[in-house]
């Protein structure tokens, strides 16, 4: 059974990661910042899974297990991030990332 070449999977992963990074750094809306983080985590998961299937002497099941934890951390991150977003939106009525710079008030 042939498989997809590693290089193609890594290129797709790189494209998704760069798109997520650009979204996090450049968008002003807090929702998009959270979505960019999710995109980057997805790209990392794809990279993990691709590397778990390369030719090597040892069994590489770890590459299949690591994304499990990545997904769990992403769920926790989305949970806390959205709660913070709710709290900030309630007091500022804005989704601008600058609203976060005055969280102490």
């Amino acid at each position: 059974m042939e498989t997809i070449p590693l290089i193609q999977l890594q290129i797709l992963s790189a494209i998704l990661f760069v798109a997520g990074l650009a979204t996090v750094l450049m968008r002003r809306n807090l929702f998009f910042v959270l979505m960019g983080v999710e995109l980057m985590l997805n790209a990392a998961n794809l990279s993990f899974l691709a590397w778990s299937r390369v030719q090597s002497g040892v069994s590489t099941m770890e590459g299949q297990v690591a994304p499990l934890f990545s997904i769990a951390i992403a769920a926790a991150e989305a949970c806390v991030g959205l709660a913070m977003l709710l709290a900030v939106f309630r007091s500022r009525e804005s989704l601008d990332t600058d609203a976060y710079s005055r969280m102490k008030e």
């Binding site: 042939e2 070449p5 290129i11 797709l12 798109a19 590489t60 299949q64 769990a72 926790a76 989305a78």
Partner: protein, 189 residues
């Protein structure tokens, strides 16, 4: 047209969908459009995971990411009704500084992939074990070379999730000192 050919064609389709939807996340104006694009990316990635023989992760991708995390995100978007929020611009001057790291990382990756020596490329192993539930559970909880390592991490992640739930409830509560808040038109969250 053998199996490898079909798998390759499917990979290109899924990769195109994933990449286009990722660009859609970056460029869309309303958060709901961005969330829908992100769900498209995740479902396409789930297809890619299936193609590289990781059925368990493909299932989790749909169940947890596209199902739970994105449902939560879309739900919050609809609760906040941020369509009213016209004051937040799509991009601004400070965002220009964000181009630099993104372009630098992109150029670095292109440089790596273009300058790659074809002979040094790591080959995929067709005989690698499938990432199904049995193999993953044996790695996670099985007694072997890494006794306890992944299982302890698994317990730790459970604690992290519990902490996140408590933190989210505390953050989203309106007033910490009023346990029973009166129901308003907006609904009590």
């Amino acid at each position: 047209m053998g199996f490898a050919m079909i798998a390759q064609v499917y990979f290109w389709i899924f990769a195109a969908i994933a990449a286009l939807c990722a660009l859609g996340v970056f460029a869309s104006r309303h958060p709901i459009n961005g969330a829908m694009c992100l769900i498209g990316t995740m479902v396409a990635l789930s297809g890619v995971f299936s193609l590289i023989a990781s059925p368990f992760m493909a299932t989790l991708q749909v169940l947890v990411y596209a199902g739970a995390v994105m449902m939560l995100l879309v739900f919050v978007i609809m609760v906040l009704n941020s369509a009213k929020d016209h004051s937040t611009p799509l991009f601004d001057g400070a965002g220009l500084f964000g181009i630099l790291p993104a372009v630098a990382l992109g150029a670095l990756l292109v440089r790596v992939f273009v300058g790659l020596d074809k002979k040094s490329v790591v080959a995929m192993n067709p005989e690698a074990p499938r990432g199904d539930v049995e193999a993953i559970s044996k790695t996670l909880f099985g007694a072997g070379q890494h006794v306890g390592g992944w299982a302890l991490l698994f317990l730790g992640v459970g604690l992290v999730l519990l902490t996140a739930i408590v933190g989210a409830v505390l953050l989203a509560k309106r007033h910490l000192d009023s346990p029973s808040e009166p129901a308003t038109i907006e609904g009590g969250h």
